[in-house]
């Protein structure tokens, strides 16, 4: 179909979203898109969800951290923020996310808010609660593996190894 004249084209805003999950989480763009639609549909209803028209444009995720660019109709940034806040799980993995910023173009969004990739991750043995465990370290934060799943910790919580 012939594309719309400029003044009738929809105006968009682009949300830079930071993502975090446990180190064993494995998320794809499709999973995240489904979770976003599901959250928007549940919170805003079908009309609100259609108005916001949330779409995940770019998505990168690996080793427990990532970022995405989510497109939303101009004027619907508030409801979109609310819908994103209600994404608590993606494909069964609990996720934490926060909106880093909002831009009028994809390029500005990526340059301004997604310039820095998540820090380098290292895996090492740590001592947590008098127990030697496997730890996944990034930027001073550590996800400690344990019998009942992961525990989020910081370098501060680790005990120095005496052995």
């Amino acid at each position: 179909m012939k594309h719309l004249p400029k003044h009738l084209q929809p105006r968009w805003r682009y949300l830079a979203v930071g993502l975090e999950a446990w180190p064993d989480a494995d998320l794809t763009r499709g999973d995240f898109q489904r979770a976003v639609w599901y959250a928007a549909g549940n919170l805003l209803g079908d009309p609100g969800s259609a108005d916001a028209d949330l779409r995940v444009l770019s998505f990168e995720f690996g080793a427990g951290a990532g970022a995405a660019v989510v497109r939303v109709r101009r004027g619907e940034v508030g409801p979109a923020r609310a819908a994103l806040a209600c994404v608590s799980e993606v494909n069964g993995h609990p996720v934490g996310l926060w909106v880093r910023g909002v831009s009028g173009t994809v390029r500005a969004c990526e340059e301004r808010y997604l310039g820095r990739r998540a820090g380098v991750r290292a895996e090492r043995r740590v001592v947590f609660e008098n127990d030697r465990r496997r730890g996944y370290v990034r930027d001073g934060n550590v996800d400690v593996a344990g019998p009942k799943g992961f525990t989020g910790a910081a370098e501060l919580d680790l005990e120095s190894e005496s052995t």
């Binding site: 975090e20 999950a21 446990w22 549940n42 919170l43 805003l44 508030g78 409801p79 923020r81 609310a82 994103l84 806040a85 209600c86 608590s88 609990p94 996720v95 934490g96 926060w98 909106v99 001073g140 934060n141 550590v142 799943g149 992961f150 525990t151 989020g152 910790a153 910081a154 370098e155 501060l156 919580d157």
Partner: protein, 229 residues
């Protein structure tokens, strides 16, 4: 703005991790609702650069046992909350000035009426708007939570009772930024300023209680200070 969190071992992230995540998402402080957690508050404060408040949440099956816990925990912590969830516990919490916050009053079988909100206003007990189920549940459970929030909102506004807002995160992944909570609040019928005020109230409470626990404080309006004249 402050958020009140459930730290390890009650939740699955430590106080230090919560503080680091909260600092990144724009909070001025976190309230550690510890039952068993005993972090080194000064070290966490220094490492994260935001305020970390030493708090305790009383979770008891009935008012008799809650009363004992309140008496025992009050002197040791800056902030003390009582988890509601039954009519008797809700009533117990709002009737005691020693309690700072009544949390999750509408959870489980709990209910609140105008008598309780008026009582809370009189005793200065903050009532918590729990955004947790709005953020993390769906379907019937969320509908019930929203219905509870709406009722609570109308009663609190009518009685002009003090309140706090929290998402009740049990891990750093459940923590949501203040702007996100404001946006969610707007969708479910809260005034943006109400949500912001509810998040700020944790900080105001912590400051008030720290002042009360300081050595110069003797009673409301009575302070030990320099003698003038």
């Amino acid at each position: 703005m402050y958020e009140a969190v459930h730290a390890h071992p009650d939740g699955s992230a430590t106080a230090a991790r919560f503080a680091a995540t909260a600092a990144r998402t724009g909070y001025d402080g976190v309230v550690i609702r510890a039952r068993d957690a005993t972090p080194d508050y000064d070290a966490v404060r220094e490492a994260s650069g935001i305020d970390v408040v030493d708090a305790a949440e009383v979770v008891a099956p009935d008012p008799e046992r809650a009363s004992g816990a309140v008496g025992g925990l009050r002197p040791e912590h800056t902030l003390l909350s009582v988890r509601g969830g039954t009519d008797r516990l809700n009533r117990f919490a709002v009737e005691h000035e020693r309690v700072d916050v009544l949390t999750r009053p509408m959870a489980d079988d709990g209910d609140v009426n105008h008598v309780l909100t008026n009582c809370a206003a009189e005793n200065g007990v903050r009532i918590e708007f729990d955004f947790g189920p709005v953020l993390r549940s769906t379907g019937g459970e969320r509908v019930r939570a929203l219905r509870g929030l709406r009722k609570l909102r109308e009663l609190v506004a009518d009685a002009d009772a003090p309140f706090v807002v929290s998402a009740n995160p049990a891990s750093h992944l459940e923590l949501r930024a203040p702007r996100e909570l404001v946006a969610v609040g707007e969708v479910v019928g809260f005034d943006p300023e109400t949500v912001r005020a509810g998040l700020r109230e944790w900080g105001a409470l912590a400051e008030r209680n720290r002042h009360r626990q300081s050595e110069s404080f003797i009673g409301p309006g009575v302070e030990r200070g320099r003698r003038d004249g």
